[in-house]
Point group: C2
Chain length 410, copies 2
């Protein structure tokens, strides 16, 4: 028999979308309990509950108070924990549910995107000592003034990771509706392979480049406190993907995954005067208006003028264009162009750090397939190319194959 562990398990909304799924999750939890493990279970709201509550709020007030929004949305997870505890009781095990407030997940006062300051673990430890399975509402916390807060989209991941850290848990399992992290999106490349181990840095890079399995902030916290995470399916017993600090890899593994993002649009400002502070004025203006800019490329200047291109989320394109045109006029730049017909393909891998030529291989592979590159941006462990949108699926497949990520059984 395996040694007794303290395990934090997190189940997302799709894992508890209806009565049958709640019962299945309860069965899984009880099977772990019967092996003697101590369990702290974090649950999200049932299925689409959160979206439904947001819709209801918007019918009443198109710009609802963030404090009241948190008051409203936190009920979703509270319903989940109560029902899950009841389902576990039905199977004959002891369980007790807590809201974020009751546990004492203390956050700052930034409603709808609060940051955790401190977690009180006394109640959880006491319940574990009594042999109970502890069910904690994900996504929510409370200010020192007892106002309810929420942690932003995907916040239940953060609840789980933070609890695992604070409780010094042996494992932190994130249950989801896929089998783990894949080398690329299996909907695009059926030969995509489940990754057995991935580093925090790679996972963060993949999350920021488009992979949507886990909330980026929760991975940052896991990295900071060295909490190993096991991402796996709530519908099977297969091992999923371990997210850890360092992965022992074969020497030739340079690239861990290929990601894509179709949600960006490109803005180009032509003929920008090449003076210090000009770029700063543009991006300050955008930031001040809440628009986050992703890739930025500035060409080498000639004739004391340059072109600056950047990408923003498509949802922000109208607002971003308006602001950019205003600044462009003020700084005596030329035309401002928009291009929504783009997509980004990226390769991610810590192996790149110690190997030259990865970029050249990537560009070469795209060129061989007549895929033109419009913008390039690189980080320590990733390289991204903006290409025409119609080539994105082909680009993913080409790079997936080139870097030998193909599932050998596939």
């Amino acid at each position: 028999m395996s040694p007794k562990k303290l395990i934090v398990q997190k189940f997302g909304g799709s894992s508890v979308a209806d009565v049958r799924r709640i019962q299945n999750v309860a069965k899984r939890i009880v099977s772990y309990r019967k092996k003697g493990h101590n369990l702290v279970v974090v649950v999200s709201a049932l299925g689409d509950t959160t979206d439904e509550l947001i819709d209801l709020a918007h019918k009443i007030n198109s710009d609802p108070s963030e404090r009241e929004m948190d008051m409203l949305l936190s009920t979703g997870e509270q319903i989940s924990v109560a029902l899950l505890a009841m389902a576990i009781h039905k199977l004959g095990s002891e369980a007790i549910s807590f809201t974020g407030l009751q546990v004492g997940i203390i956050t700052d006062t930034s409603h709808t995107r609060a940051r955790i300051i401190k977690i009180n673990t006394d109640k959880i430890k006491e319940a574990l000592r009594q042999g109970k399975i502890v069910i904690v509402a994900g996504f929510q916390g409370v200010t020192l003034n007892q106002d309810i807060t929420t942690l932003g989209r995907g916040g239940s991941d953060l609840t789980a990771v933070a609890l695992a850290k604070e409780l010094k848990a042996d494992e932190c399992e994130i249950y989801t509706d896929v089998e783990g992290i894949y080398t690329t999106d299996p909907h695009i490349e059926p030969k995509a392979r489940k990754i057995e181990q991935i580093t925090y840095d790679e996972m963060l890079e993949m999350a920021s480049l488009g992979a949507q399995v886990m909330q980026a902030r929760s991975i940052e916290v896991a990295k900071k406190f060295d909490v190993p995470i096991h991402v796996r399916s709530s519908f099977s017993n297969n091992r999923g993907t371990m997210i850890i600090r360092e992965v022992k890899k074969m020497e030739d593994v340079l690239v861990t995954g290929v990601t894509l993002n179709r949600k960006e649009a490109k803005i180009t400002i032509c003929d920008v005067p090449d003076r210090p502070g000009v770029a700063a004025r543009i991006f300050k203006e955008l930031a001040a208006n809440g628009i986050s800019v992703d890739m930025i490329v500035q060409n080498v200047s000639h004739l004391r003028q340059t072109d600056i291109s950047f990408t923003v989320n498509k949802a922000d394109i109208a607002k971003a264009l308006k602001l950019t045109r205003k600044v462009a006029k003020n700084i005596c730049a030329g035309e401002v162009l928009r291009d929504e017909d783009i997509a980004r393909v990226s390769i991610v891998g810590v192996g790149m750090r110690s190997h030259h030529g990865v970029a050249a291989t990537m560009f070469g592979a795209l060129a061989e397939n007549k895929i033109n590159i419009e913008m390039i941006s690189t980080s320590d462990i990733s390289i991204s190319c903006i290409i025409k949108k119609k080539f994105i699926e082909k680009a993913v497949k080409v790079l997936h194959k080139k870097f030998r990520l193909v599932n050998k059984r596939g």
Copy 2:
């Protein structure tokens, strides 16, 4: 302009059943605020939310933990308060919502039927000082150990009355879907009249005899602390019914209302040996099994034997019969009979205290109309008769007319 008051207003589930109704309630609240009044608003869960959550729980566990049930059900009111605050914001007024836990409505640990021990009013007073309308989740409280509790069916009434008492409110308004308290059920007697003023005692008696406008416990609390209650409609601006300590009435008003109850069944034990302690054994056994007995009638004995009849809730009849037959056998009594074909008609009025002949008038009126009386029971301010169920509507109309309760405009 009227003087500035502190008003506690309670809106039931039907008053906030959908977005439009929530908006209407918000308008009414804001109109009071604009007159300069300070407002503390207590809200129930939206429409049938509570019943839907109970159904969901029972799909998962037919005998759910009461602690988890309270965790689940309390979300209903939390949703209401957040949405109502948003609706008030939309109208340009300031409002803030609180759960029972956040206010500090401290209760004992009797989950699903907790009793209020203490209410902390600091948060409410501070918010009122800041000019905010305070929205409090009804029906819920919290134990000293921070477990969420609920106050039983109709518990939002209790929240409102208890807050009104604790805050020394000038008024406590209970908004509902009827215009107030009626002399009898208007569905049965269209000539029923809205009562302008009624005493706590009469209201308690009417509630226990079948009138379902307000929770009985909340009236007890109002009586204990002399909190005047105004029961009125959330769909009109008409004055409703004031529930107060003493009503100045014309001398000839003996009866305030006529109530009926069709939910009881009668059990008769024949030939009970007339020995001390025999009745006690029967009713102890029923009480120990959680069955509450309503009317009890024992005839004068002859030949050292007597018949004992009593009524119980129809839902309990099978269990009650089984227990009664067991005891009947042990005490050497005779046959045990059941009768579900009965109903109770009652008259209520503090005027009875000082007037003789009310009972005679009641019995006479029923006799004149060929309605046979099977059991009689009286209290200080009420007289109840058990009759055949088929006569109940006729009995209500006869008594309503006899005691001059008919709406003169009707």
